[in-house]
Symmetry: none
Subunit: 212 residues, 4 copies
Amino acid sequence: MQKQHQSRAERTKRNIIAAAAELFAERGFEAVTMREIAARAGCSHTAIYLYFTDKETLLQHISMPPLQELREELAGILANDAAPEAQLNGICMTWIRFCLSHRNLYDVIFNVGAERVDEKDPKLEMNRLRNELFGMLMQAMRGCLPPGTGEERLLACTRIMFYMAYGIVGTYRHSPESLDELMARLGPTFRDAFRALLIGFNAIIEEGGNGG
Amino acid sequence: MQKQHQSRAERTKRNIIAAAAELFAERGFEAVTMREIAARAGCSHTAIYLYFTDKETLLQHISMPPLQELREELAGILANDAAPEAQLNGICMTWIRFCLSHRNLYDVIFNVGAERVDEKDPKLEMNRLRNELFGMLMQAMRGCLPPGTGEERLLACTRIMFYMAYGIVGTYRHSPESLDELMARLGPTFRDAFRALLIGFNAIIEEGGNGG
Amino acid sequence: MQKQHQSRAERTKRNIIAAAAELFAERGFEAVTMREIAARAGCSHTAIYLYFTDKETLLQHISMPPLQELREELAGILANDAAPEAQLNGICMTWIRFCLSHRNLYDVIFNVGAERVDEKDPKLEMNRLRNELFGMLMQAMRGCLPPGTGEERLLACTRIMFYMAYGIVGTYRHSPESLDELMARLGPTFRDAFRALLIGFNAIIEEGGNGG
Amino acid sequence: MQKQHQSRAERTKRNIIAAAAELFAERGFEAVTMREIAARAGCSHTAIYLYFTDKETLLQHISMPPLQELREELAGILANDAAPEAQLNGICMTWIRFCLSHRNLYDVIFNVGAERVDEKDPKLEMNRLRNELFGMLMQAMRGCLPPGTGEERLLACTRIMFYMAYGIVGTYRHSPESLDELMARLGPTFRDAFRALLIGFNAIIEEGGNGG
DNA sequence: TATGAATGAGAGTTCATTCAT
DNA sequence: AATGAATGAACTCTCATTCAT
């Protein structure tokens, strides 16, 4: 009997999460109302409040797991013994694959409430996670620049690398092509993008006397 | 008299458009209320409905001119006699400045979301414009790559350049910083981004025997 | 077993009453939720409905005991052999302490508002109690006025004494300070209030030839 | 035409105020909903927000005029050349008359949002006014105590005087008797109450060496 | 006996929009 | 041409209460 209760609750909670994820993805966080979510989840709008304190919290519950998954994947890449360039490339490609395979939630995860990627203040757990991701990218970047490159330069290069990843994802976010189709068609281009940046960074740093 | 009336009406209409454009750009479509627009336009909120059937329509009337302005600016850059690299850089930076100064407007105009599915044309209109812009970028790109670079390669490089611009804009779309603050803080980084790509492209093409 | 069940049920019921009494007293009837009561009572909120049809009924079950307790305390004071002034002071201070420690409960029980018009008895019940209390106060008062003071005079003095008590309670009914804080800060003032009245009464009666 | 607009607006506003005053008096501030007020005022609930920022503000608009009226009456008494005792008595009696003639709004005016009568922080305009009233009472009190009475003592005596007034009003707040009937029947008792307090205060202060 | 799950009515408030002038 | 007055639908969120077990 307890079990029945539990499973029912879990089912409802899952329904809510699924409905919210769909709706947020379809029409954006702000445009979706709690009542709509409830309607699609097949429960009353007040039931949502049994499982989530408020709308924002609901969003976070949806966004967190994928982000954590991504973090762990990236951490795995950083932990292996590959060459720095291979690591960086792995990070970038994984990042892209991730974002494109969570396309629908992308907006919600990356744009709601985020102000700067390199922001310090970790208001929300989500922002903290985003920053952690950025930190991983920076770590990978460090190994690919000339030794002695200043921190400021490193930060700038990481930012640029981030722009690139962000831009790729943004460009194909609404594409009807599947992740695999996309990667088959454009994977080499993406790879070239990161390689070109790396080459350019090193050239600029060398020429500039690798200062800060 | 008739004329005076007409001109007064036109003035009011222009005021409304100007006010709405400013406010939408400053704070986003949804966040702005009709009463605020009216206040800034110096008329009553009901007057807006004399000229525009609703808020959405008002937005559409606002969206086109800036886009055309952008296209003309970019065309102007392509038409001048500056060095290819300067042209390319000008195109990229102008594009970024444009998008960041029309930030929230940008959101609405450029992000073809699911809620627009039932609309007549905006998706196509936008894609047409995007393609036009992309063509200009490609044209500028051509002058910056080694002579004899194949079309496929050129296309790939242009795409990558586009990703970068797109990524920069996407990253700072929701930033609270003004355009000027943003450019002061990050302008050099943006410039470096495009330079690094160009350097990288040339290196890759050279090494690869500039094939198609 | 039957007995165990019964005693368990009774215990739960008592817990609920105790919890509700505390919470109503602490924060007022309206501000307290059934879930809070249940939490403090150590049962689920639905269990409350096993014992009380609704929140209002629960309140009614809570109201009487403290009032009876007060009456008995006052009777005890009247029954002891202390000096009349001590008795009177005891009555007044006890009354104040009672009302201020049942502050929000007091609100509901004592303030016969318009919303109670359709109830059966509370107005009368309350008035009965008020009168009883008033009678006790008058009894204590009698011992503190010059012998031979007329009944009318006695009545007036008692009334005035009652106003004072009532006014003190009313003034601090909504104070966020606890009973103890209040008594620490203002206890001497309250005491002075009753003393001053007593002194004044006697002076007035003496001067006026202690007539009726 | 402008006039018609104006008068309509004024009528609506008056209706809202009247409806809110009635309802607040009947059932208390918290228990009344904006929609109920609107219904009784014969307008939509949103119309209320055209005239009052929120519910609290509406309450203040209702409470302020009577309070200001009272203030002016009291100020008039303080300004005349009567003996201090006469002034104090006038203040107290006026206060009582006022409260009993505004019986229905009494609760709302004096109890909503008020925490301490002698509070300093003037969060709301209403609290400021209440404090001003208290200040007037204190000023009148000062003239009736022995010269050299400390401020603390003065404050305590004023508080006590206030309790008395408050208690009288509270006691007869729900009485069916009219103001005049009440004053005819109990006016002398009220007068005695204040006199007795004054006599008592002076006695206590003398005996205690009129310290602080 | 007792509970976790779920609900409906309703709170204050906002805003695009319409009506009457 | 223009406006002040007014509205209704919708928002997030709360809570006493009921249902199913």
